[in-house]
């Protein structure tokens, strides 16, 4: 039974801290470009840095600004890669049409 108390205490501390982070992130939320969020969601989110960026978030910004290409991402799965490329194509096409109008 003695082993349970430390586990519970540690769990409780973790729970309280997690709750606090959640509150802070709500309170200090920064409105960002939704397109970046969407692209970041389609990346593996390992933050491995193999693409040359500091993390998946920076890579997503690079992709959106056409400063990087999807194949820079090494750990991405084949299906996810195809989906992401299609998504980017769609994004850029929509952008082009908007600028033409």
């Amino acid at each position: 039974m003695d082993i349970l108390i430390p586990a519970l205490v540690l769990g409780a501390i973790g729970f309280v801290l997690g709750l606090l982070i959640n509150i802070v992130s709500k309170y200090f939320h920064v409105e960002e470009d939704h397109r970046i969020e969407k692209i970041e969601e389609m990346l593996p989110k390992y933050n491995c840095g193999a693409c040359g960026y500091a993390g998946c978030h920076d890579m997503a910004i690079g992709l959106l600004n056409k400063k990087s290409i999807v194949s820079q991402c090494k750990p991405i799965k084949e299906e996810a890669k195809v989906a992401l490329m299609a998504h980017l194509d769609q994004l850029f096409k929509a952008e082009k049409e908007e600028s033409n109008n």
Binding site: P6, V9, L10, G14, G18, V24, V30, G55
Partner: protein
Amino acid sequence: MSISALISLAFTALIIENVILTQFLGICPFLGVSKKRSSAVGMGMAVVAVILLAGIITWTLYHYVLSPLKMEYMQTIVFILVIAALVQMVELIVKKISPALYKALGIYLPLITTNCAVLGVALLNIRKDFGFAEMLVYSLFIPLGFLLVITIFSMLREKIEMAPVPKAFKGTPIALVVAAILAMIFSRFGGLI
């Protein structure tokens, strides 16, 4: 604890036992974010906030939760948990308040989690058996020493950028030489108290 003892402790923490130059903790941000004075000061401020908060929270947790439950052996895990959560919060707050600083600090901001100075101060507070006032003074003046040294160092590095340094020494090597000389100077303060 008398006031003069606290002042002496503050002076010790600030200069004589300086985190970077005599205890050699927190070297990573010291070398990584000291190229520009503005980002160095920003980093120093972030470290002051994190260490002070982490010191207070970990000390309170240790004395009112871990110690009564006889789970002092869990201190390292609990302290790391607290520090990681604090850094996460500081990152969110910096992102909101100062996007420029957030960009300048880049990957070094989440790396405060692994800044050994933070865990070091939290553990030293316990090992040195500090009371609340001593803990408060120690966890305020240790990071202030960090801020002091990283500011001096970044000003030196800004000057060195312009100096005619041999090609092989450009960048980090000359920075390490400068850091070594600074450490030698700081080690001389040891005779003051």
